[in-house]
């Protein structure tokens, strides 16, 4: 009797754990389906053309003359801000991770790790506020930029926001490299710099790539800070001092006003689908890169 009860118990717990395991997938999948469902009526909408949506930069969802729904400028805005942010954040984050993991004393390491975690805990709206009131004004003062809320300003904020993620993940990746690698390198007479550059970097390559890509994911999905800091202008940027608008910021700014079930409302959901597809592609590509490297 007691044994039987034990077995039932076991099965129950197993089922529960399995449910927890797949629940994340179920949630993501149902969100995706919901977003698709809201955008679906567009296929029969005469005022909407997919080609215009993808390849036009004319975003006039509330025009009283002719409405058009082109998101090209916002796609350009999203990618330019995110890539520029990664260009800043990846080297800085990597450098910080290498310093914390390989060069600092244990005491300094503990302090730095706490500070990095603190940086990660700052809400994005606070970053946005800093971008609006501090960095944007510095940009106007020290450069010849026409506006302070621009691509560079947004990228700096996104870089600051994704650096903590990159640092902690990259540091984990470096920690995962067995100490025997370090000992071997030092025994061969390598300096610590040579050890870090020639041995640890190749050995931890997968984890480091993963760290940067997760930082990229954090940056591309960020909404509040870029909404406040990039100027929110529908504009294909010609320089880093041009204001831009990102896809996420556009959804956040316009979903509240768009009348439910209107073309505008449905197009905003289609932008959501587009964002899903973009991030999914980035993640998939990242997966491929990492797997291929593992094989070689």
């Amino acid at each position: 009797m007691r044994r039987r009860w034990h077995r039932v118990n076991e099965a129950l717990i197993e089922a529960l754990i399995r449910l927890c395991g797949i629940s994340a997938t179920i949630f993501v999948l149902s969100i995706f389906l919901f977003v698709c469902k809201e955008a679906l009526p567009l296929w029969n909408d005469k005022g909407f053309h997919l080609r215009e949506f993808l390849f036009s930069d004319q975003w006039y969802p509330t025009s009283s003359v002719t409405r058009s729904y082109g998101v090209l400028a916002m796609v350009a805005g999203t990618f330019s801000v995110t890539l520029l942010a990664m260009l800043i954040a990846a080297p800085v984050g990597m450098g910080a991770a290498f310093y914390i993991s390989e060069f600092s004393t244990p005491r300094v390491r503990e302090i730095l790790k706490i500070l990095v975690e603190l940086l990660a805990a700052i809400p994005s709206v606070v970053w946005g506020f800093a971008g609006l009131t501090i960095t944007s004004r510095l940009i106007v003062r020290f450069t010849n930029a026409d506006v302070g809320v621009n691509l560079l300003n947004g990228a700096i904020l996104l870089a600051l926001m994704s650096v903590p993620i990159i640092v902690s993940l990259a540091e984990d990746a470096l920690k995962a490299v067995p100490d025997s690698f370090r000992e071997a390198a030092l025994a061969m007479g390598a300096t610590r710099w040579q050890m870090a550059w020639r041995v640890l970097l190749p050995a931890a390559r997968n984890g480091l790539t993963g760290a940067v890509l997760l930082g990229f994911g954090r940056a591309i999905g960020e909404t509040m800070a870029v909404l406040m800091a990039t100027g929110h202008a529908v504009n294909i940027p010609g320089s880093v001092f041009d204001p831009v608008r990102t896809l996420t910021a556009n959804i956040a700014a316009e979903l509240g006003e768009a009348p439910a079930k209107s073309t505008h409302y449905e197009v905003l959901f289609l932008i959501g689908v587009l964002l899903f597809v973009l991030t999914f592609t980035v993640n998939l590509a990242a997966g491929f890169v990492i797997r291929r490297e593992r094989r070689t």
Binding site: P61, D146, V147, G148, H232, A233, V234
Partner: protein, 266 residues
């Protein structure tokens, strides 16, 4: 008109302790969207309800929206305080803001900025804003805005951004003016007399971009809501309108239904 709604709700907390007025912003379009859904009692609005919006509200809630005039406003045009410009015409504004407009550099209207910058940075509101639609309908004649303007979430953000951007121009309700920005006088066409956005200019109709501030309710408002609107239209509520920087309605008397009759400025 968010600052006005907030000022009213704060003052009303003392008048009637049993009623809590909760205010949320985001532009007239947000208020109207919520009114159509039936989730709010009062929609403050700085533009008139469109017929299709009234129809949507009727279809979704079964009630016809009712309009109350609660004040008047002028759209002020701002530039950075270093900008030597003093006045601008409606035509010039339209050429700066409309799609394919011809004015993109300050030098084109004879303005040299001290910092040497020349580009006209157009600060705008996001499309849910009543101010945005009013500007589009009355300054651009219903034509589209030029894209690539900086679309701010609120009037306060517009003024703050202009204060920190030397080449900027922007517009918002007159109440949002601060000492950090310069308010321009506006004329119909270059060469004609320009008028500053003052209460006198609004009442005399000489200032070219003025409008009414409105409240919409779903059907006849419930007693506490009615009481609140009546208080807003009373001298006490209208004093807050003036204190906030807008132009009060002049209650000339009551009509047959007991409504306060507005002498009107439009």
């Amino acid at each position: 008109m968010l600052i006005l709604a907030q000022a009213w709700s704060e003052a009303y907390a003392v008048v009637d302790r049993n009623v809590a007025v909760e205010v949320s912003g985001g532009g007239s379009g947000q208020g109207i969207a919520a009114l159509i859904k039936g989730t709010i009692d009062i929609a403050n609005c700085s533009r008139n309800l469109r017929p299709e919006e009234a129809a949507a509200a009727l279809a979704s809630t079964g009630k016809e929206p009712k309009e109350f005039v609660v004040g008047h406003d002028a759209l002020a045009v701002f530039v950075h305080h270093e900008n030597p410009l003093e006045e601008i015409s409606m035509e010039q504004l339209a050429e700066i803001y409309r799609r394919d407009g011809t004015l993109t550099r300050w030098s084109q209207i004879g303005v040299g900025l001290p910092s040497g910058r020349n580009k006209i940075v157009r600060v705008n509101r996001q499309s849910s804003s009543g101010t945005y639609e009013f500007f589009r309908d009355h300054v651009l004649g219903g034509r589209d805005f030029h894209l690539a303007s900086l679309d701010m979430n609120g009037s306060k953000e517009v003024v703050e951004l202009i204060a920190s951007t030397p080449g900027a121009i922007g517009y918002s309700g007159m109440a949002f003016a601060t000492p950090d920005v310069k308010v321009l006088r506006v004329s119909i066409a270059p060469g004609q007399p320009a008028q500053a956005p003052t209460a006198a200019g609004v009442v005399s109709k000489r200032y070219p971009i003025s409008r009414s501030l409105l409240i919409y309710t779903l059907g006849e408002p419930r007693a506490p809501v009615r009481k609140y609107i009546d208080w807003i239209r009373s001298p006490e509520g209208q004093r807050i309108v003036a204190d906030t920087g807008y132009v009060p309605i002049r209650c000339e008397g009551k009509d047959a239904a007991g409504e306060c009759v507005d002498a009107g400025t439009e």
